[in-house]
Subunit: 258 residues, 2 copies
């Protein structure tokens, strides 16, 4: 009677968890574009389940900031505006610079080794791009680079030993990754600068130079934000110019970008 073997993964096979992951995937891969209204019923039908678990999954995604509930009309996929992006990066700046300082005081040799190996991988990506005919990373390379960047930052935060900071930063990154429409391109300049920052940060952490590590991490994240904003502005300008060919202002409030 003591069958303990299937105790694991009850969140894994719960319908709510399934719905949660389903919706998040749909948003991430663009099936659910920002601004679209979603309906509990529709999602439930798509998943072949009832509204209840879908409703609870929507609730979670709402508190995490991916969805937004309109009073009595429905819930829609949030759209990050410029200010949201600034806020998210500022949070990372606060959290991660603190974490870098803290990590500098308590990191262990094995973790430093891990950081070095990640830096080496990123260095190889720089060479790879320089030796290729392209000026920017292709999408597969972007995926790899993002994964490396994520691994490096998260390793540092984990070394700081604060699980809540880890979660907040994870959520922030998820939000920008999933909801931030203008996907950037990385050229050689961006890549080398990021790599330079990373190696110097890791160096400071290894040398137990807490303050320098924190300061540089803050600077690094501010630089990322600046790039993201520049890219977004260029993207918006491009789209605004191409929109000149389209129907002339039948709806009012043309220049306001929600």
């Amino acid at each position: 009677m003591q069958d303990v073997d299937k105790v694991t993964t009850q969140t894994g096979n719960s319908l709510q968890q399934h719905a949660y992951e389903f919706i998040q995937r749909q948003i991430a891969d663009g099936s659910l574009a920002a601004g679209t209204l979603i309906s509990e019923q529709t999602l439930a039908r798509e998943l072949g389940i009832s509204r209840t678990p879908v409703r609870e999954a929507i609730g979670r995604l709402q508190t995490e900031g991916l969805l937004e509930s309109l009073p009595k009309r429905g819930t829609l996929v949030r759209r990050l505006d410029r200010n949201d992006l600034i806020e998210l990066y500022e949070m990372r700046e606060a959290m991660e610079s603190f974490a870098a300082s803290r990590a500098a005081g308590r990191i262990e040799a094995a973790e430093v080794e891990h950081l070095h190996s990640i830096c080496d991988d990123m260095s190889r990506m720089v060479d790879e791009l320089r030796d290729s005919d392209n000026t920017v990373l292709d999408s597969e390379q972007m995926r790899r680079h993002l994964a490396l960047d994520m691994a490096l930052h998260m390793t540092i935060i984990r070394a700081a030993g604060n699980s809540r900071i880890f979660k907040v930063v994870s959520d922030s990154r998820l939000l920008t990754r999933v909801l931030w429409a203008p996907r950037q391109e990385h050229d050689l300049t961006v890549l080398t600068e990021a790599h330079d920052h990373h190696t110097r940060i890791v160096g400071h952490i290894k040398a137990h130079e807490a303050e320098a590590a924190g300061k540089l991490m803050a600077e690094h994240i501010r630089a990322s934000l600046q790039r993201a904003l520049d890219h977004a502005d260029r993207d918006r300008q491009r789209r605004t110019m191409s929109a000149d060919y389209l129907p002339p202002l039948n709806s009012h409030g043309d220049t306001t970008v929600d």
Copy 2:
């Protein structure tokens, strides 16, 4: 530019909101002690509503960290241990020192005025205690002092203009306020030190000295954490000693056991 404090207010008169506030109050005033199991059905009956809104309120409280769900057995009121407290204060240190720096660069005159008036109120509380016969604040004074402290910190964060940081810090403070069992006492030393920190922080912010404001805020919060930990340790030792079936000498070293 959205209003920062409007983030939390939504669905004011919904049953779910009602249940949410009810449960939170019960935890805050001790009716639901840490570690007790709660039942959707019971709460629903107490509130005279059905399980559904109660269940959703519990879900929210769960993601906010006040409740914890055991797989299929029920959900219980979380208990914060020493490490939780450290993590929560570290998050505040990271967030609020950043916010103080940021506020120093952009605060407006009216907000500075508000900070000054809060400082004055706290100063009056210092005098009040000094002139009284008591060595510590009574519970009503503690409530007032906590409200003033909260107002000051939150005003600074609001001046920093980042609604997400505001929310994270609010949640952190809610958790410690509601879930941290050993309630502290504030004597004259504590009060004057806090007041000293506050006035100096406000001074730096007013003078647009970003770095000094941030550093001092970090120090201020570290001091608060230290006081909370000391108090908790004393509290635990007291309780251990009062348990006369255990020799107090043995329990000195093992701080790892909860």
